[in-house]
Amino acid sequence: MNPDANLAIILPEIVVAVFGTIVMLYDCFVPNSRKTTAAVSIFGLLLAAIALFWLWLFAGQSVPVSAWNGMIVTDSLRLSFSISFLIITAVTILVSAVWVEREDVPAGEYYSLLLFATVGMLLMASGNDLVIIFLGLETLSLSTYVMAGLRKTDLRSNEAAMKYFILGSFASAFLLYGMALVYGATGSTNISEIAIKVANANFPALLLIGGAMMLVGFGFKIACVPFHIWTPDVYEGAPTPITGFMAAGPKAAAFASFMRVFVLGFPLINGVQVSAFLHDSWITALSIMAILTMTFGNVAAIVQNNVKRMLAYSSIAHAGYAMVGFVAAGMAKTADKREEIIAAVAFYMLAYAITNLGAFAIVTLIAEKNDRRTEFDDYNGIGFRSPLLSFSLSIFMLSLLGLPLTAGFISKVLVFQPAFEAGSPLLVFLVVVAVVNTAISAYYYLRLIVVMFFRERVTEWENPKIPYSLATVLVFAVLGVFYLGIFSDGVIRLFKSSPSAFQLRVSEPSVQPSIDMTKAER
């Protein structure tokens, strides 16, 4: 078979991986070069972003839209999510700069781990094959396990890393078993081929079991109920900048490949019983999970007294909102509609990521050494004493809540509107639940604002010095929240403008010659 190698199509991934290695080696030879390593990492991400835009412009012309025998594709799903990943990592590096300095973290290892995690995320979005998705997921997960436990002497960090590692690899094993069964049922690991072969699967029962197992694995990664148990503990125990990264990046990456496998890999093919049954099953399962996730995340967030824990439950709830879009994409009738909803979900993850990273930047700064101050009480009355911090944190909370003019509002509208308009009673019910939940979430987001501005401070408060890197993040995040909130059209149009030759099209069912059993038995 022709290897169909094409390095251009994976240029962003290569650039990030090379820079991860450079950063790691640079730190070996020039120790204590924290600022340089951070700058080199950001430079690498910038180059990768340029490579990505180059792909955006030329995919389908000088670069093929699909190479490596269909293992890598360049479609709107990949491009829109990939640009979000690069932004997320760059912002995380800027947030971490202050923390790396404070905690005396080995910078080379830390930044290279972040970059390798980014390679994993990029592969998860670009992979059109179960092998690539699995490898990307593991590259991402293994880096994140280490980063969660980076503070080796801290008991909470140890515990977070261990819980994350054990439960994460447990979930990966389920995902992998699901992949094996889907491969067994369809005879292929390529998602476009699976979408065709679902129509005449050799073992329909295995296809269903495999789909369910993959649902467990991906559900763990996006932290939806009932696979969310690890989330609050890990988010609380992990170092704060990493928590921000985990809530933004890996979740979005898991959404990207989750949607690719389920929406594009298990489509509804008219008149084929197996595919209809499979499609119905995963739509129903995901709808139930979405309802549970939204409700549980918001209700549990109300009773939290730790800000990081509250943000962890809030991230569970946001995964639930995004899942409404996911279900709507799965039920979309036409390819255009599907593409539009997927772009909306990508926009949702980007808006959530920017808001969340901004909030975590402030939490990192206020937490001080060893994450000492992360309780709600530590935010008492800081409102007018540190106006810059408290006002920007308030903006982020209002955006997470979904106040008009902010990114959080428009992203919710973009995800819920097509779901509402689709006319299916299930989707309408999901949207109603989501809106009720948004109302519930007002309690804990506003609580933080109330705590900051209207409570008396009893302990002393010293206005923390805001380093340049963190100031950049705050400016970027606040501007981003308003930019996405007001000028969302341009971003959405960009996210939808995929290379025309390879739209997110579900292949029409074609009669495939079934596997020659006599040959196979041999």
């Binding site: 179960l130 092998v131 140890n158 261990m162 491969y183 292929s188 609380e236």
Partner: protein
């Protein structure tokens, strides 16, 4: 008698179940980790079984990927467990109980 596809699947299913049950009931982090490895290897058997059934190399290729990932996972997992052990002198997951609601 030549093993059929069903026997591969049965073996892998049984091994996977043993692994999953072990992860749920074991309290020792190393033991849990061994059970996870058992689950991964059960998946490998499934892949090899289907690969033989279809006469298609993709499944075997996947097994190589799984093996290398499992090796990386072992290195990282044992590192994390050792870091935990240094601070607690224990690898019992019930001792991991600071972070709670």
């Amino acid at each position: 008698m030549e093993p059929t596809l069903a026997s591969y699947l049965a073996l892998s299913g049984i091994l996977f179940t043993i692994g999953a049950v072990g992860v749920i009931f074991k309290r020792n982090a190393i033991g849990m980790f061994m059970c996870i490895e058992l689950m991964l290897n059960a998946v490998n058997i499934t892949f090899v079984g289907f690969s033989r059934f279809y006469n298609d190399a993709t499944g075997q290729l996947f097994v190589f990927m799984v093996m290398s990932v499992a090796a990386a996972e072992a290195a990282i997992g044992l590192g994390i467990i050792i870091a935990f052990f240094r601070n607690r002198i224990s690898v019992d997951v019930d001792d991991a109980s600071i972070l709670k609601n």
